[in-house]
């Protein structure tokens, strides 16, 4: 059964007549446990597609259903709840909160949940252990290397155990050795059954994915 159903979605940007079609008519289905790589050059619409799946970016046309839920039929606050429940974002620029420690950054999703403090902390430490960052839990983000920051960002995306991880160029800012480590982490998560959708322009990363969607000019170019 499909976890994500994308039905003929379009996204137009621009105002005052300058209308740019970032995504023009994409339909596809993604099932549980898939590791999808969305490949494309910059401007191909792949990041737009990702934010639309994540409930952050309203499509101009079409529907996205996640777990049978039409996410753009929800109001913005319900959509926030949907993100909390279903989505873990990992961004290219790491996007850690600079004034929170590694552990605090990972704990952010729990700030809006009812879990007890003890459970939150043990869960956060467990996930930091998994990404190999437990020993740096008290550091601030600017004391970490790029690869370490990315690991923390992945830990934060995972801590809530969301069914879907959306990663936007997770290795975009990293050297090849560090990139390989991060990709290995994603591959391990995938092996454990995690559904992952990763946007990348790096051919090297494709070997970790179970399926690749190639995009060009807002359309699906090729499915592998």
């Amino acid at each position: 059964m499909a976890l994500i159903e994308i039905e003929n979605i379009e996204k137009h940007y621009g105002k005052n007549g300058t209308n740019v079609k970032a995504v023009s008519g994409i339909s596809t289905e993604i099932t549980f446990g898939e590791f999808i790589a969305v490949l494309g050059h910059s401007g191909s619409g792949k990041s737009t597609l990702l934010t639309m799946i994540g409930g952050l970016n309203h499509p101009t046309r079409g529907n996205i259903r996640v777990d049978d839920l039409d996410i753009y039929a929800l109001n913005p606050e319900q959509r926030a709840d949907f993100r909390k429940e279903y989505i873990g974002f990992v961004f290219q620029a790491f996007y850690l909160i600079p004034y929170l420690t590694v552990l605090e950054n990972v704990l952010i999703p729990f700030a809006i949940s009812d879990l007890s403090a003890a459970k939150r902390n043990s869960r956060a430490m467990q996930i930091l252990e998994k990404v190999g960052m437990a020993d740096k839990a008290d550091r601030l983000p600017d004391e970490l290397s790029g690869g370490e920051q990315e690991r923390v960002a992945i830990a934060r995306a995972l801590v809530n155990e969301p069914p879907i991880i959306l990663a936007d160029e997770p290795t975009g800012n990293l050297d090849s050795v560090t990139s390989a480590g991060i990709m290995q982490l994603f591959a391990d998560l995938h092996r454990e059954g995690q559904t992952i959708i990763m946007v990348t322009h790096n051919q090297e990363n494709l070997k970790y994915a179970s399926r690749t969607i190639s995009m060009k000019d807002g359309r699906i170019d090729q499915l592998n």
């Binding site: 606050e77 926030a80 993100r83 989505i87 909160i97 952010i108 999703p109 729990f110 809006i112 934060r156």
Partner: protein
């Protein structure tokens, strides 16, 4: 990790940015505290020095006729008191609502008597309350302690050749002059003062009074109000306000108070503006951060909570700092203005008010930037790569 902990960490690790905000708010609160404390001290100062201004309320018996005297010249020696004033009536003053505002009550019984072949006015008074009311009285000699002791006014002493130590015969009672009043320039110079009870007995007017001088001050209600309250308790007496005494000083204080309110308002506006601009700038700086929170699933109200909590925490500090610095400065300024500063003390209600003021001010001023932040489009925030 709770929402308020995010706010706390944000403050803790970005101290320098918020320092200006803290200083600005503290100055605003501090100024308000200084102005309130100083004008309050001025009011209390007046209240404690009240008796130095003399009586400002006069109680006399009701008279049937119109007054036949003008400018101290009496055209008729007779005026019949329909209902004489009594001490029992006077005791009712203790029941009035603003009794605590009454500083001194000086009852008097006036009679005429003949001494050394001349008519003299004799006043039965309570020496303690009279001296409290008339701080300007200077006695050469001593204050009477026995019932048979007298004080004479300056004019009386001169005209009748009386000195301290003389004995006078009043209504067949031998009384000793123990003090002579220095010249006061008032009617007191022409009066012989004796104990109230003795005069009442000698002239067979037990319990009766001719007039009562009262010194009262109420800085949150007009003197007319106290007059009305006394009038209600003593319906058969005539109660009058003597306006001139402290009215002008009160007017000066109320002008200063209005000035204080004006300045306070301006300071609070400036404080509010500082909060507003700081938080508006901070929201722009933190677009990305807000985008992350939203992408994680924070609702708009969660973003609102984080920002308002930050403002409130800072305002708590500003409230305490503002109160403490305001208090210290007010004490110094009061000394400089020659205002009695003993009334400027730590007052928990004042501290709470200053906290409340600070919180309401920065809460209100950060509300718009917080709403703006909550309504940021998360994709917009994330896309600023």
């Amino acid at each position: 990790m709770k929402l308020y902990q995010i706010s706390l960490s944000s403050i803790k690790r970005r101290k320098s940015r918020l320092l200006f905000l803290l200083i600005g708010l503290t100055i605003a609160i501090s100024t308000v505290i200084i102005l309130i404390q100083i004008s309050d001290a001025m009011n209390k100062d007046i209240a404690t020095k009240l008796d130095e201004f003399g009586a400002n309320i006069l109680v006399v018996p009701q008279r049937d006729e119109l007054s036949l005297s003008y400018g101290g010249i009496s055209l008729s020696g007779v005026s019949v008191e329909t209902k004489p004033l009594t001490e029992a009536q006077l005791k009712k003053i203790t029941h009035i609502k603003n009794y605590k505002n009454i500083a001194a009550i000086a009852p008097k019984l006036l009679e005429t008597t003949r001494i050394k072949e001349r008519n003299v006015l004799i006043a039965g008074i309570d020496f303690d309350s009279e001296l409290k009311l008339k701080k300007w009285w200077k006695l050469s000699g001593k204050k009477p302690r026995l019932d048979s002791e007298l004080v004479v006014g300056n004019e009386v002493a001169k005209k009748l050749n009386i000195i301290s130590g003389d004995e006078l015969n009043i209504k067949n009672m031998r009384m000793k002059v123990v003090g002579v009043l220095a010249e006061t320039g008032s009617q007191d110079d022409e009066i012989i003062f004796a104990d109230l009870k003795i005069v009442q007995n000698l002239f067979d007017r037990k319990e009766q009074l001719s007039l009562v001088e009262i010194s009262a001050l109420c800085y949150d209600c007009p003197i007319e109000e106290i007059v009305a309250q006394i009038g209600n308790q003593m319906p058969t007496a005539k109660v009058m306000a003597i306006r001139e005494t402290i009215q002008s000083k009160m007017a000066a204080i109320s002008q200063f108070e209005n000035f204080s309110y004006g300045i306070s308002l301006v300071m609070l506006l400036v404080g509010g503006l500082i909060v507003f601009t700081t938080f508006s700038a901070s929201v722009n700086e933190r677009k990305k951060e807000i985008g992350i929170f939203r992408s994680i699933g924070f609702r708009k109200k969660n973003i609102l909570q984080i920002i308002i909590t930050e403002a409130v925490i800072i305002s708590l500090f500003a409230g305490i700092l503002g109160y403490v610095s305001g208090l210290v400065l007010a004490k110094n300024i009061a000394g400089y203005l020659a205002v009695n500063s003993t009334s400027i003390t730590v007052d928990i209600n004042m501290l709470l008010s200053s906290l409340l003021l600070s919180i309401v001010l920065s809460g209100a001023a950060s509300l718009y930037p917080a709403i703006k932040a909550a309504n940021l489009d998360p994709t917009e925030a994330i896309r600023t790569l």
